[in-house]
Symmetry: C2
Subunit: 174 residues, 2 copies
């Protein structure tokens, strides 16, 4: 029963491609004095400054506790600052410093170069298709717990209304 071919297994192909790009870029970033994870935080802040820690964690796919400690370091290096925000004193808003912005601006062209390198051989239409599909995969897996073969007592209920899962027809209507 040769029913499983790793070379054609989507999660494998995804992980493998992502790892290669990440590893290559990580070296480049380290030369500029920041780790890959720091770059991810900076890029997320470039997209939207002043995000809360949890928000940043979701955005960067970094575990929130790991991120908390990473932010300690970034703060020490004066790349970001923590600011206990106005309304909700529970959340902490993270802001890029001028230095943080400078490093980001320095790394953006490098990042784009790696993106171009990765996408060699794809025309812009194909590249758009690829990106759309990746967004789709992400949405399809929208923070769900278990799929398929329920092991033991896997509860299958929707846990609150998740917009990303709604959008993509993840749940069959019933």
């Amino acid at each position: 029963m040769a029913t499983f071919d790793l070379e054609d297994f989507l999660p494998y192909l995804l992980n493998r491609a992502g790892a290669r790009i990440a590893d290559a870029f990580a070296k480049e970033a380290r030369r500029r004095g920041v780790t890959l994870q720091m770059w991810r935080v900076l890029a997320a802040l470039h997209q939207k400054d002043g995000q809360a820690v949890g928000e940043l964690a979701r955005m960067t796919s970094i575990d929130v506790s790991t991120l908390s400690r990473l932010l300690d370091q970034m703060q020490q290096r004066r790349l970001v600052s923590r600011r206990r925000n106005g309304q909700d004193q529970r959340s902490v808003a993270i802001h890029r410093s001028a230095a943080g912005e400078a490093v980001t601006e320095e790394l953006i062209p490098v990042a784009l170069a790696y993106e171009r390198q990765a996408a060699i051989g794809l025309d812009s239409r194909q590249e758009k298709v690829l990106k759309d599909m990746l967004r789709r995969l992400y949405a399809n897996m929208g923070s769900l717990e278990a799929v398929g073969t329920p092991a033991q007592t896997t509860r299958q209920g929707r846990k609150s209304t998740n917009p990303s899962t709604m959008r993509s027809g993840l749940w069959r209507s019933r």
Copy 2:
């Protein structure tokens, strides 16, 4: 100069999708008593048993030193065995045990369920296109050191003839 949109940045989309699928599947695998990394090793061995450590490291995208220690554990759990091979006594061939195979067979349908879940909304033609593109990205990044903006003294030479980089027109002829 809003020249960088994270939401449209390929490495980001890739990492994000990969992380979600991996995280979700990791939980499922842990319920079966294996970590995600162990599953990766087992799946690689399912594809081709008796691989050398270095080979497995490349296949799984796990660092070789990390893998070496992971194999210690898997060996203790009797999932795999190390065998100093015939010809080249330097390399160590890793073999799945019966128990290792059993867990693998148990996890394969689960893995496939997650793959289907991720690919909801894609027809089989689109899915093939996606996989081909991911293979392309992987090949495009074929173990190269640096692209674009050479920081400091980045040597740019091809390091031996790499078939995966040749295939995909990574290097402009000159």
